[in-house]
Amino acid sequence: QDLTSATLRLKWLAQAQFAGFYVAVAKGYYKEEGIDLTINPGGPNLLTESLVASGADTFGLSGGTDSVMAARSKGLPIVSIGVAHQITPSVFVAKKDGPVKTIEDFKGKTVTTWFSGMQYVLQAVLTAEGIDPADVNMQPQQVSMTPFIEGQSDVATATRYNELYTVYQAIPPEEITTFVTEDYGVSFPRDTLIVNEETLADDPELVEGFLRASIKGWIYAFQNPEEAVDIVMEAAPTLNRDHQVYQLAEIKKLMLAGAVPENGLFYIDYDKIQSAHDLLVEGGMLPAPVDLKAAFVSGPLAAIPTEDKLP
């Protein structure tokens, strides 16, 4: 039993969004790979990228492709070894009985979004539709969806797996318009797995083993959603189970989107990342272009046979 200890820093607290990792731990998949993995939750104001860069954590589930690029441009020695959500996981929502019916209607309206990367996506969408972002009253969105539900804003942002559920609890889905960024040619894949450059160079087996076990965990979670939710709920018993079941189903959609059915989970889609990158550079959000081949390394993932990565 010569296990290598490693940690995985999540971008947030335990929830079904991270079910695969919890399942892999519970099922002993990491142990099979010789890894003694500890899952460390995230928190507000805690940055996965810097914790992995500094070596505090071995692996990280970081904010998204955008934050990996930002970290690289700041010289943080991290690389992404896989992308979980193949499409933008968040949508914009408006009430059907409200003033916003189309993207055009965003002009002059109050649109709230998270200033944690999502604002770039919104800007890109608006720009793609020929709308000057300055014409939109863009406001930081707070944790709660209640202000939107109560009509204090016209458009809000919602992750498909979290806030959208909350909104639907209050307002039936039929009465909500969702704006999906991919409909406007904008896609920001998120929830990327990251690792320190040094770890990758010194211990490629560890990285590979981690990926293999994680993928195994996710496949199991998708096949046994009830059990997966149970496992997650064990880590966070105060969560609402219905919500977590819903969340896992949504996460499954996000993780199986795009080219995953052909290439397997955590597929790194360079074309998509390139377009997201270009949008960020054009919009001045990235000071300089980033070498995407160096930032996103598909080697460890490629070492795993595709059939093992398919659910």
Binding site: L10, N40, L46, A236, P237
Partner: protein
């Protein structure tokens, strides 16, 4: 930055101990019933205040989790509080002895208290990991300062005549410290400790926001981001209970240790 004010005595009329215990229990019961009725009658939305019974049901849903969280947060606070108390007294002693050290470092202590800890969570995690120790460190960081200050104030209150008397008996510096300075300063130190108990709890809760798996801070965050108001209130109520318990613990220790009261 003198840490606060004297004691507030909520005058609990003398009486049999049983009666003294019963009174607050009855008071709390009345409060809960009134709150339940009021919220029901006014039909307040859960986002404003849930009924007490809803909060109770939430806690009953996962009692061991809530208990575990309270215990964990208690341990963190306690660790930080004890460390803060010891460090506070120690620095108070050192600062009262050496004017140079005091004038050099006390201002830095003040400055340290103007820095919001939450801003450098990454550093804490980096240095202390995801451990109990990490939260303890934050609890410590928030609680030591009032103790330092009040130890200093307490020492300054020592009667020079009393010092002269002890010295005339041939007392050494150590004897002076142990038999005179520390006991004299104890009432002041306890004022700071009561404050420190509350601050250490804040530290522990905020510390748990730096990526932890359990604790009231975690539950608070989780409830907040999931918009689970019953769970949010459950965490708030339990924080209050823990806060009162910590305060009570210190007050109890104070009653036993500083039985003579501050004579002024």
């Amino acid at each position: 930055m003198s840490a606060a004010s004297g004691t507030l005595s909520v005058r609990a009329g003398a009486g049999e101990p049983l009666l003294r215990l019963a009174r607050p229990v009855v008071g709390v019961a009345i409060f809960l019933i009134a709150a339940e009725a009021l919220v029901s009658v006014l039909d307040l939305p859960v986002t404003t205040v849930p009924r007490p019974s809803v909060i109770a049901a939430e806690i009953a849903r996962a009692p061991s989790t809530y208990a575990g969280a309270v215990w964990r947060t208690f341990l963190e606070s306690f660790l930080g509080f004890v460390a803060g108390g010891i460090f506070g007294v120690a620095t108070g002693v050192v600062f009262s002895r050496s004017r140079t050290l005091r004038e050099m470092f006390l201002p830095l202590f003040v400055i340290s208290q103007t820095i919001p800890v939450i801003a450098f969570g990454s550093i804490i995690v980096l240095w202390f990991g995801n451990t109990l120790l990490a939260k303890g460190v934050i609890a410590f960081y928030l609680s030591f300062f009032p103790v330092t200050v009040n130890t200093l104030i307490g020492f300054r209150a020592v009667d020079p005549q009393q010092v002269a008397l002890m010295r005339s008996f041939g007392a050494s510096e150590g004897q002076l410290l142990r038999r005179l300075f520390l006991p004299t300063a104890l009432p002041q130190i306890f004022v700071a400790l009561r404050l420190g108990a509350a601050l250490s709890l804040v530290g522990a809760i905020v510390g748990e926001w730096f990526g932890d798996v359990t604790g009231l801070g975690v539950l608070l965050l989780q409830a907040m981001y999931n918009e689970n108001y019953a769970a949010l209130w459950a965490a708030i109520v339990l924080s209050a209970v823990l806060g009162l318990a910590l305060y009570g613990l210190v007050a109890l220790a104070e009653r036993r240790i500083v039985f003579w009261g501050s004579e002024q």
